[in-house]
């Protein structure tokens, strides 16, 4: 028996109104999405920029207005909670942001940033300095950082501080939204390792949002691939990295830097045949499968109907009428 999920998303939807000339329209940043996040797992959410992965990460913590669906935690629907009750729950779900230059308040000393979270989480004032120092130690920083402002730190150090802040409220779940993409390559690994380490040490649940399918497969338990505002495939991280079912997953995997010259060529050829400019517009969504214009496997049916997430032939789930079935995944792109 599996334990109850820490968060259970059902039909979670995010739409934004946009003004186009005189008319008001809506774009759907997140299509109705079902997703369970299990306690203690590391769930990776992968996709290109604009795929809705950041929206999903924020929506599941109710940090952006949700247009529909539910977020169930411990039998309570977070979308229906009154503001005070929601605020009381918030410390248990934290977020680490992509840009550490924007996610720390430039006018606050690090001590203020940390202690205001501690205070809100109910830590007595006398313990603030001690706890803040311990948090900084956890992320590998000295206590003299407390008296400084964010501008005194490098990007990597700031991200460590941001992680310390996320940990300050002793959360159960951390959503890390591309936490390393703004950092120097040389320190990316350090920050990822720090997150993984802390996760294990504290028994956290980690949602790791990234565009790097290869990297997340090394740290995640499960991987969800997003395209055009919806999850198109979700599977065990290892399985997805070796045998993707959805053509988009395969394409994403193929587009990662890789030593295989033949595979790289294939990717380039595939991209040339189906220009990335064919990325559909949110304002004018295509009928049928949103990926069909770029899909080397598209069937006539794909232009008519929208595929929904369903159990894939060999485990996991995928939203595709014509999923890949072979094991020799990256080459799947070549079959066109």
């Amino acid at each position: 028996m599996m334990a109850a999920p820490i968060l259970s998303l059902r039909g979670l939807t995010v739409r934004y109104p946009v003004r186009q000339g005189l008319s008001r329209r809506e774009i759907t940043a997140l299509q109705p999405t079902d997703l369970d996040i299990h306690r203690g797992e590391t769930l990776a959410i992968v996709g290109e920029s604009g795929s809705g992965k950041t929206t999903l990460g924020r929506a599941m913590l109710r940090l952006v207005p949700v247009s529909g669906g539910s977020i169930v935690h411990d039998g309570k629907d977070l979308t229906a909670l009154p503001p005070t009750a929601l605020r009381a729950l918030r410390p248990r779900f934290q977020m680490v942001f992509q840009d550490p230059y924007s996610s720390l308040n430039p006018s606050q000393r690090i001590s203020t940033t940390l202690t205001s979270v501690l205070a809100h989480a109910g830590v007595p004032k006398a313990e603030h300095v001690e706890r803040a120092t311990a948090l900084l130690a956890d992320v590998g920083l000295d206590s003299d950082a407390l008296t400084r402002f964010p501008r005194a730190f490098s990007g990597g150090q700031r991200q460590r501080i941001a992680i310390a802040r996320a940990l300050a409220s002793d959360p159960d779940l951390i959503v890390a939204d591309e936490p390393i993409s703004a950092l120097d390559v040389s320190i990316q690994a350090q920050v990822v390792n720090l997150l993984v380490e802390l996760k294990a040490k504290r028994g956290l649940t980690l949602v790791f949002i990234s565009h790097d399918l290869g990297m997340v497969s090394a740290i995640a338990d499960r991987t969800a691939v997003m395209y055009f505002g919806e999850i198109v495939e979700i599977a065990k991280a290892g399985a997805l990295a070796t045998a993707p079912r959805h053509p988009y997953s395969a394409m994403l995997l193929a587009s990662q830097p890789q030593p295989d010259v033949a595979a790289a060529r294939a990717t380039i050829r595939a991209a040339a045949g189906h220009a990335a400019a064919d990325l559909p517009s949110q304002l004018d969504p295509p009928t049928g499968c949103p990926f069909q214009s770029r899909c080397p496997h598209a069937l006539p049916r794909c232009a008519q109907e929208v595929p929904h997430l369903a159990l894939a032939p060999r485990g996991g789930m995928t939203a595709c009428f014509n999923p890949l079935v072979t094991d020799e995944t990256p080459k799947g792109a070549q079959t066109a």
Partner: protein, 289 residues
């Protein structure tokens, strides 16, 4: 352009060179002038030789008369004493109004900007309406409704400046609200009030203060203009703007009675506006004189 922060001149005048020295002096001049105005107003009771309201000599004595350096007015009141005391309403109104406009306009813009959506729309239309009146007209309307007094003049000038601060604060707050630290604060479970006051507001303070310095001059001129129109302090309380008006009909007979207060208003406005420019340049990284 060379770094012009305060630490540069520690190299010493010799190595900075005479051009640099001249620039340093020129840059500090407006601050010195503004400080002199404030000092003179504060020390008016010490510096003034006479009570500014009492008739203390024959009327209409010219400049450099015995005992009356700047002569006397038509009522026999000492002009120098009146000018010293007359600085006070100008300073009180301009500084007070700007401070008030900063606090109120800043809060208004902060709420509007952080809140966003319909509330923001409605609040900004309110500001648009206020801005569609010429500033001076809006102030005149306020004074017509409330009556002329120093407090009401301050309120009127503050109201005429409110939109400036509301708009700036709103634009800044909107920019800040989009930054991740605000979302981090929300994720931490802080209340909206906490986020506005503790997280966002401190980041607006610097640019708002720079803006404030640069509109003190405008406030001083508006205050002087309203006093000139008879909407400021009640005579016989001395006030530079009103002295310009009172002396105006004497411009052919004793021009100094209207010209001198006028020049002082202009010098103060010029000095504080140079100070404001310097602060604004520093804020935006520019390097004006």
């Amino acid at each position: 352009m060379a770094d012009q922060s305060g630490s540069a001149p520690t190299l010493g005048a010799a190595s900075v060179g005479s051009a640099g020295l001249v620039r340093q002096v020129l840059r500090s001049l407006p601050w010195v002038v503004a400080a002199l105005f404030v000092l003179a107003a504060l020390l008016a009771p010490v510096l003034a030789a006479y009570d500014p309201i009492d008739a203390v000599g024959g009327p209409m004595q010219p400049l450099f008369s015995q005992g009356h350096l700047l002569g006397t007015d038509g009522f026999g009141r000492d002009q120098a004493s009146r000018i010293l005391y007359g600085l006070r309403p100008m300073l009180i109104v301009s500084l007070g109004a700007v401070a008030l406009a900063l606090v109120l306009g800043g809060a208004y813009g902060l709420i509007s900007g952080v809140h966003g959506g319909r509330v923001d729309w409605a609040m900004m239309r309110g500001v648009d309406i206020l801005m569609s009146f010429p500033l001076i007209l809006a102030a005149i309307l306020v004074l017509a409704a409330l009556g002329a007094s120093l407090l009401n003049l301050t309120l009127a000038v503050a109201m005429s400046q409110l939109p400036i601060f509301a708009r700036l604060a709103r634009a800044l707050a909107k920019g800040e609200a989009a930054r991740d630290y605000v979302m981090a604060a929300r994720a931490a479970g802080f209340t909206q009030a906490h986020i506005m006051l503790r997280e966002v507001a401190p980041n607006l303070l610097r640019p708002l203060l720079v803006q404030a310095t640069s509109v003190v001059a405008l406030a001083a001129l508006t205050a002087a203009a309203l006093s000139y129109l008879g909407l400021g302090v009640r005579p016989p309380t001395p006030d530079l703007g009103y002295m310009v008006r009172e002396g105006q009909e004497l411009i052919f007979i004793a021009p100094e009675q209207t010209v001198l207060p006028g020049i002082l208003i202009a010098v103060f406005a010029l000095a504080v506006s140079f100070c404001g420019d310097q602060l604004a340049d520093r804020e935006t990284g520019g390097a004006g004189l």
